[in-house]
């Protein structure tokens, strides 16, 4: 009987306003068959520091976060601050 643990990013979502959300699934396998799974979610806002983030997530952020997207998001944040 062998137990193994794997971690994989099983979901990456980009919202219309440029927020990137990803989910890391930790799977416990017993003799190759999954017996348990837990999730950890992370969300990243346009222009956020990407230090330490997975390479595939960074690539998506860099593609999604155009100057226009960043400017629009910053304007939205400013508007949210007053409500």
């Amino acid at each position: 009987m062998a137990f193994t643990e794997t971690k994989i990013i099983d979901q990456i979502t980009v919202t219309e306003n440029g927020i990137v959300l990803y989910r890391e699934a930790t799977r416990i396998l017993k003799d190759g068959e999954q017996i348990a799974q837990t999730y950890h979610r992370t969300s990243l806002t346009p222009a956020q520091d990407l230090t330490g983030q997975p390479a595939n997530v960074v690539a998506i952020c860099n593609a999604a976060w155009t100057d226009a997207v960043v400017a629009a998001y910053e304007a939205q944040v400013a508007a949210n601050a007053t409500v």
Binding site: I19, L21, Y39, H40, S43
Partner: protein, 172 residues
């Protein structure tokens, strides 16, 4: 008793009820091997029907500084549960010592907050800073801010060295 399987009605029983000793997977999901309950697809299959529960997920998340001041929180414990369109997210963390006058921003919420402001809210159940009373998730974002009783978002320095447990409840 009989059990009928067909392509139109799925599974029916002549008694009108369905019994599972352990778990049931919906949407083609492999039922969980542990406990007893309903297993939902790993990716939500959204239903437009008002009486259909179409998603359940629980996990952890990491609150981070979104103010731009480069602050690092410590002793983080954060969990979430999503039931249908509602998200319940909580986090305990220590705010660092800082002189930053930027408005605080807690980023990393596990799901994007919906766009309708009436359907979000948050509160602080533990904290040692008197001006920190509310946690306000931002519309259409994955961040929120710690606010005082009148709703004013606090500066980082006002929360310096504080210890907090924040709770957010919102619709996606």
């Amino acid at each position: 008793m009989s059990i009928v399987l067909d392509g139109t009605n799925g599974i029916t029983t002549n008694a009108g009820t369905l019994l599972s000793a352990t778990t049931i997977g919906v949407g083609g999901t492999t039922p969980s091997a542990s406990g007893a309950g309903v297993s939902f697809p790993a990716t939500q299959s959204a239903s437009s029907d008002a009486n259909t529960l179409d998603d359940y997920e629980e996990g952890t998340w990491t609150p981070a500084d979104g103010s731009g001041a480069g602050l690092s929180f410590a002793n983080i414990q954060a969990q979430y549960t999503k039931i249908g369109r509602m998200v319940f997210a909580s986090a305990t963390f220590d705010f660092p010592s800082t002189a930053s006058t930027a408005t605080n921003s807690i980023s990393g919420l596990p799901f994007t907050v919906g766009t309708t402001s009436g359907y979000i809210g948050g509160f602080i159940t533990n904290g040692n800073v008197a001006v920190a009373v509310r946690f306000r998730p931002g519309n259409n974002s994955s961040t929120g801010s710690i606010r005082d009783g009148s709703g004013t978002a606090q500066t980082n320095v006002a929360l310096s060295s504080g210890a907090f447990t924040i709770n957010a409840v919102y619709m996606v």
